[in-house]
Amino acid sequence: MKRKVYCSLLVLTFILTSFIGAHAASTAKIGFTYIMSGPFSAYGQFAKQGAELAIEEINAAGGINGNKVEGFFEDSTGKADVALRAIRKLVYQDKVDMLIGLDSSGVAKTVVPSIEQMKTPLIITHAATPDVTGSVCNKYTFRISLNLAQNVKAAALLAKETGAKKWTTVGPDYAFGHQSWEYFEKYLKELNPETTFLPKEDVAFPPFKTTDFSAYITKVMSSKPDGVFISLWGGNLIDFVRQASSMGFFNGDFQVLFSLGAATEVLTALGDKMPEGLWVGTRYWFLANDSAKNKSFVDSYFKKYGAYPSYNAHGAYSAVYAYKAAAEKAGSLDKEKIVSALEGLKLEIPTGTIEFRKGDHQAVTDAHWGKTAADTAYPHRILKPVKIFNGQDVTPSVAESGCSM
């Protein structure tokens, strides 16, 4: 008899706890898709660290609308079909409320139509192609990071100041390199109609797999330009800078602008081999501003991981906070309500105050350019001085972006 009572008690407690458990377990699930393996896995690792830091901070402060935040990380491998599979897993299997991520522009551009089918909001934190908040934009897709147009607009403003008249480029031979050059040409021409640009067959577009840039360096140097706009990144940029400096490329015969030169992985790998006094652009620079938000981000990041946050860490970190802000504004985790809350949302992130424009879902965010400088406090070159271009000035209008929702 006694045994029976115990048994029923046990069952009762089990049922009760499972109820309570289910209630307490109500979580806000965020799915992250980054390159976690292969040649570019460093990007994914940085993003994961940034995201985990944000989640930890938010959970310590009581979660989002009282919900615990849980992160799910998937590997895009940088390939469109794999990235889509990862996103499908997050949406259909893990049933996430929110998607954050995407490194590669090509991946972002081809995956975006499916996001609309899955009816789950996505904040892009890295991919720079203007198209995802332009020609292929949709209701569910947002971007918190600086896009190519914003970055290049700032470059054009800077280029005008240098006074250089004849420009050429070195860029990777794929959409990013070509688009960067087209936009640069377009913006600088608007700002200063007197500038000239070398025709397409005379500029340098080394294929992505290039490791030996000498032929391109020779080509650019022999065309005797006043300014060179360089949109190489990652390993290409490291190889280029090393080979170019030994061939006298940075001797000051012409202006040099690196559209994405100030990425942590590049500066760290190059160390003191990065020439000083070159203009480099960045999506986020950890020393660019002294706001409390930025200080606390950089400090806690450094404390947790022993490194300074890269732009990708910043993107993922900020996107989590943007989701929190949207959820609080909506008062719900409902996907549709989150989408409406994100539209026009204004919030402060480490890099400054941003606003997700209603028209194309691109964040209006400041662009940072700086000159490389040595500083013994850091193992790599830092930017000094840093020039901040106001988001309003560098973001093309919605009409120009070509987005229609």
Binding site: S37, G38, P39, F40, S41, A42, Q45, D173, K200, E201, A204, F205, P206, P207, K209, T211, D212, S214, A215, Y216, T218, K219, S222, G234, G235, I238, D239, R242, Q243, S246, M247, G248, E265, V266, T268, A269, L270, G271, K273
Partner: protein, 286 residues
């Protein structure tokens, strides 16, 4: 005129690196009959081991000496435990097995040294610029242009004037015959694979001051090495040399004339050569 000369130098220095990798690949194919997909990964391993040695002893030359030798050890393990079992099996099995080795090596290196970029400094004596036809040109690249033929010459002498070299040549023509005259064929196979590994790793160590180190650096170069080997004639030593120079120079001049089709240059070369001469430019044999 200067541009012509500079492009020739650029093409030669790139071609010499390709040659070092391709000659190992082609010798291994000639003797073992295996087209090694993981050859590029051994190149990558050579670069990383050179970097590691440099960090320990602070000398590029020691890195160049010790790094490739450590890679040879890894190569021996691969031959002993894996490749040995697929000699004579279908081509597709050999390709898949070496592809698996590529996956393992690339990811293992990523686990050990991280996925970030690494750089290796050339030794001080080669770290300057020299004036070539009125243009600044890095000394290290000239060093590459010279070291390629040097190593090629030494290899040629090895194959033609030493007993072991002659045995390997015999084996590459006909390994049954080699067995018939009492040569220890398994030992030949192991040593040839070790030689191939050493050449690939040496190429990697030599390339290290020139390009950033990343675990996937071998995948970039393996396809072009395949092309060199096929264009030159599979298993042909002079073929590897000529093929590598052709590809190096074509790619260098491609930056001037090919425009947006630069990327396709190696494949066009491959297709054209195979259509004109289905077995490549040179006959098998080192």
């Amino acid at each position: 005129m200067e541009i012509l000369l500079l492009n020739i130098l650029n093409g030669l220095s790139w071609g010499m690196l390709l040659f070092l990798i391709a000659v190992g690949l082609t010798t291994v194919f000639g003797v073992l009959g295996v087209l090694n997909f993981a050859h590029g990964s051994l190149f990558m391993l050579g670069a990383y081991l050179c970097m590691q040695t440099m960090q320990l002893f602070d000398s590029f030359w020691l890195g160049l000496l010790i790094g490739p030798l450590c890679a040879v050890f890894v190569g021996l393990l691969i031959e002993k435990f894996l490749l040995k079992r697929v000699y004579g099996r279908d081509v597709s099995f050999q390709l898949l097995l070496t592809f698996a080795v590529l996956l393992i090596l690339d990811d293992a290196v990523r686990v050990i040294w991280g996925s970030g970029y690494h750089v290796v400094e050339p030794p001080a004596i080669l770290n300057g610029i020299i004036s070539v036809a009125g243009q600044d040109y890095p000394v290290y690249r000239l060093f590459l242009v010279l070291i390629g033929p040097l190593i090629g010459g030494l290899l040629w002498a090895f194959f033609h004037y030493t007993k072991w070299g002659k045995i390997i040549r015999a084996a590459s023509f006909d390994n049954i015959m080699a067995e018939g005259v009492g040569i220890n064929v398994p030992l030949i196979y192991t040593s040839v694979f070790a030689l191939g590994t050493w050449l690939a790793a040496l190429g990697g160590a030599l390339a290290a001051p020139q390009q950033s180190l990343i675990p996937s650096m071998g995948e970039k170069i393996i396809i072009e090495s395949f092309i060199v080997v096929v264009v030159g004639g599979m298993g042909s030593f002079p073929g590897a040399f000529v093929g590598a120079l052709m590809l190096g120079l074509l790619e260098s001049f491609g930056t001037v004339f090919a425009g947006r089709m630069q990327m396709a240059i190696p494949y066009i070369l491959l297709a054209v050569i195979l259509l004109v001469k289905p077995t490549g430019l040179f006959r098998k044999g080192v």
